[in-house]
Symmetry: C2
Subunit: 301 residues, 2 copies
């Protein structure tokens, strides 16, 4: 089934203990699309300025990513982000952020995307996520990401969004903040009581937890990666593979969601193995399936 | 097969956000024995002073724990530990520690224990662990715990021990310190290169990782516990159930070790649900098996 992503397109500068990647391609919609494209066609909605140096037709060549929703604003500048990861990459510092085109009016969802069935609303202001979602006619499964600043300052908009979406995908600190509860299982239960029917909590190198409104739980460790060069985009790659697999299978039952999380976990492990999108562009579906079986075997008892 | 534990017996005072448990029974050998006794007979080696208020025959009534190796020193005082857990119980502060009898000569391993096949050397000075192990004639599988102070100050003794044991069970900070490597998979590989054939790294609420010298890996999340009242003894309960299951099955292949870790995980989740040993004494094997199946289902995809 059709899969739509709305999110950022960025010019990133990333510093890690393994080197520096200057003015490289990044952004949630880009990582998501690249990861999802292993499983399903993707419809991308995002906006850049005239300074954007990337040829997206080339970036997504042979990947079945529809770029109709990619808007280039001639008088605007592209979103830029620069960050530095410390020695163990368990945290990151934003060196600078220029919102640029992201501070302007959001892109419109193209008419041909309005029948999208699977929708991922990458992190942005929840009011904007609401507005973007309102342009989709009859979505089957909507997932959204958010972050601490929206939980702190736009909680009403976020709560309104939670009532409209099926799945919230957030990290553990955000889950604790949103639920005002430290225990992650209890936090998930509190979030489920206010809105979406599925909550997925990302724990970085400790994997992820999924809970649904029926009381089902799924807990998966991260792939036992030994190569970590650049964690940027890990979360969006996770969401991309997850939603790509759901769109491919056309199902959203808990069993399918479990496999989708496993694919998300594996694809994220490839994403972090190299700078920018290189970890994703250097692999194929066979590599992903092989690693999925390794993860299955390493977690089964 | 026979299972021997050498470790501490303590009078604990524990403060958590859920209350205070004063002068309660604790110690590694005690938690270990209680957890292991669900699976296998246990031989306990430990020492207390004349001030010890606990009736161990009653504590372990109907549990098949051999107390021949429990030495009571009439002129000594029992080891005492007091600690406080902060709001989220993700850390703990030692309020006071009186080594007392633990600073004296170690207990002898009774003659009738010397044919023990499965041996757990709970955390103590590695020189002492070496000495205790030397009293066992032909062990089949020896596991040991250690901690940061021995890694810092008794590394030669610890390295000598690692060459004699089969399995090291430590927490993630200790693994990183011992291996001088942050990535836990790489840390396990470095430790395996210096000694034991199996390394199990405990990650608290994020579960555990097992690696062996053949390159096999097992990663298991913690049980999704919502009740955590007192984390004291979680690690020794984990080790107890793990070793108890191995001794019961008489096997140490990787598949058996995986199930053993799953049992360790589940029994630890019961141990932390109440103060002192109450989390373990209030359950039976059926409760454990039920939770094991819940964990299996919550991690399978």
């Amino acid at each position: 089934m059709s899969l739509l992503v709305t999110g950022s397109i960025a010019i990133d500068t990333v510093r890690t203990p393994y080197g520096v990647s200057e003015n490289c391609l990044g952004g949630s919609a880009v990582y998501f699309s690249m990861a999802a494209s292993f499983f399903s066609p993707v419809r991308l909605t995002g906006v850049v300025g005239s300074d954007c140096p990337f040829d997206f037709a080339e970036v997504f060549a042979d990947r079945n990513v529809d770029l109709t929703g990619l808007e280039v604003r001639p008088h605007s500048k592209t979103f830029r982000w620069a960050g530095t990861y410390p020695e163990h990459m368990d945290d990151r510092k934003t060196d600078y952020m220029e919102l640029n085109v992201l501070a302007e009016a959001p892109p419109r969802v193209p008419a041909k995307y309005k029948d999208s069935k699977f929708v991922f609303l990458a992190n942005t202001a929840p009011g904007l996520q609401n507005e973007l979602l309102g342009q989709i006619e009859e979505p089957v499964f909507v997932a959204a990401d958010t972050m601490n600043c929206w939980i702190e300052d736009h909680l009403d908009d976020l709560n309104a969004l939670l009532k409209k979406i099926d799945c919230l995908i957030i990290n553990e600190d955000e889950a604790r903040m949103l639920a005002d509860e430290y225990n992650l299982i209890k936090a998930a239960q509190k979030i489920l009581a206010t809105g979406s029917s599925v909550v997925i909590i990302k724990k970085g190198e400790s994997g992820s937890i999924m809970c649904n409104a029926d009381g089902d739980k799924f807990i998966l460790p991260a792939y036992p990666a030994t190569e970590v060069k650049d964690p940027t985009g890990a979360g969006d790659s996770f969401a991309g593979a997850l939603m790509g697999y759901l769109a491919q299978s056309g199902k959203t039952d808990f069993k399918t969601l479990k496999t989708a999380i496993a694919y998300g976990t594996v694809v994220a492990s490839f994403a972090i193995a190299d700078f920018s999108l290189n970890g994703l562009t250097s692999i194929n579906k066979i590599d992903i399936d092989k690693r999925l079986e390794t993860l299955r075997n390493a977690t089964r008892f």
